[in-house]
Symmetry: none
Subunit: 187 residues, 4 copies
DNA sequence: AATGAATGAGGCTTCATTCAT
DNA sequence: AATGAATGAAGCCTCATTCAT
């Protein structure tokens, strides 16, 4: 299958998938996604070989977007400030894009996502990982495996986001509380 | 008097569902579950009204079992010791029952699980919550919302478990590292 | 299968079947009928070998009851008076027992009812047939085949009943109009 | 431009349904209908949303065809001649299309047919109703409700058809006998 | 390339009937 | 005899994917 031309259409399908999956879960029919994208049933399969393929690419894209959002506007300050900045951006992106967040969460645990996709996705987090490494370099977790620290940090972020989404009126307070907890953990 | 409804059979179906879902995901066919349970296709539906019903009950059971495991053998010592004991038990259960853990994780994010089921399930965590409350009573998070603290703690546990499962050779070290992180966060 | 003893239970099942089929159609589950009869699932099959068997017996019973109702209280008067009396009783039974009527109508067209059952049922109509024969003996249809006359008469009755049920406030007028039409046809 | 939805295929499904239902009753499986139509299992559902939908459309079509058949070739003569012509056509259609007739009869009493479908179908009978109205305008049923008259007439027709189908060798005689009875009733 | 009809393999669930108790 | 659990064959419908146009 040759690379089809219209990137717009591809993007439309991705966006539609995000919306539909957020609403209906991963069981959503490809036909529903195509319709939401304003594209025909069959066209979807000229852009993605397979439903699983679509899912994997969507995962990569969302994860990448999230990572980029977290890292945007970073300036050269001390570790704590950088970390806080990143944390804040991360929370902001998640609360501003609840559908993307929700879909991403579903994809994360889906068995349709390949191991290799998971690995690629982790690259999107490299930047975050770097900051994290520097942040913990002199803290109590300095000797723990990097991946464990990263996993813990990620879990904290996800939990905080979940909590914020459930109680958006106190978003800032929760955001701060989450960060403080994080920093106590690693800083 | 007819053949009475057998608790064994119900349990067999639950166990089979755990195994099959761990292997195939929530999309697993009821027929596959029935077969694995050594029960006929239709019998499954005399024990559970619906596939969703089975899933909800399974969620409740697994969550309950996990909560009970975490709380078993608790003795009246200081908070840190209690918390550590609980943490340890929790990790042990999870690593000893990877399929249950995996299935539980899938159920947790499934949109088939009712809000009311989620609520019931949270009761299984009450005991854990109590210890957690006492543990943080004099710590840095003493003023944070209980639910947020709980969410963070849970996330830390899940992340640690995930990590342990991925690298079981150093289970004890990771378990300890996770707990230290937790304690720094709340203790 | 030996004839089971409790005629009460048999009757209860019949009555339940009448009610359930009136409400749900012939597709009604045997389990639903059993439940309505206050009898267990499996008991139904000690009274009737098969669902089709139940249906056939029910057909026979309802048809017989209807025939008997039509013929009750007949006195030796002239043909027209007898016919009118019968017609009136027939309509009355049908309007007083709408569920039986409705179920009977469904059974009449069902392909589950055997040819031999249909034949047996026709015996229940023998009495009616006799009166009909005498009524038409000197009328315009005196030379038509008896069965055709009977069929036409029956159709007229059914149609009139249908109409009465749909507009019960003018039952008597419709009853009379139907009879007059009948008498013009055969009398 | 995709393969357009084929009217032929739709018609084939309708025809197949007529045949299969005539033979097996309304319980016939959609798969059987699809197979008889030479169409895939799932294709049936691109032409009809639901089995009930198919049934309703089939009812409409058959009823319409029957009504049209009855009214074909009508000329401006007196009422009795028109009525006879119509009656004759009606009988002819029914005897020439026994499967359609049989299926139509099943549908007529099925609870799958919507009230609104029944109403639409009655429009197909409007023409017949008109002739009937003129026919009875000076007869003994001139003051009876139109619907009742129609119901009776219809019942007579159905009964006559049933009888003819059961004894096709004397079709013409029965046809005439039925009509004479009708005319005595209303003319 | 785009469209949407066509395909047919399953999936969930129902149900008549049988069977252990 | 009575009960209701057990069985497994269908049945309706959905859906990813293919294909004719």
């Amino acid at each position: 299958m040759p690379r089809p031309r219209s990137d717009d259409k591809r993007a439309a399908i991705m966006a539609a998938a995000t919306r539909i999956i957020a609403a209906q879960g991963l069981g959503a029919a490809t036909a529903a996604i195509a319709k939401e994208a304003g594209v025909s049933n069959g066209s979807l399969f000229t852009y993605f070989d397979t439903k699983a393929d679509l899912l994997n690419q969507l995962y990569l894209e969302l994860k990448g977007e999230m990572g980029a959002a977290a890292l945007g506007g970073l300036r050269a300050t001390d570790e704590r400030a950088q970390m806080l900045h990143m944390w804040s951006r991360w929370m902001d992106w998640a609360t501003a894009n609840p559908q993307k967040r929700r879909t991403l969460a579903q994809l994360q645990v889906s068995d349709q996502i390949t191991a290799s996709t998971h690995e690629s996705a982790s690259h999107a987090m490299t930047g975050i990982g770097g900051i994290l490494e520097r942040s913990r370099a002199n803290g109590p977790m300095r000797d723990a495996p990097a991946a464990l620290v990263f996993t813990l940090c990620n879990a904290l972020a996800e939990a905080t986001i979940d909590y914020i989404i459930g109680d958006p009126d106190h978003a800032d307070a929760h955001k701060q509380a989450g960060f403080d907890a994080l920093w106590r953990m690693i800083g």
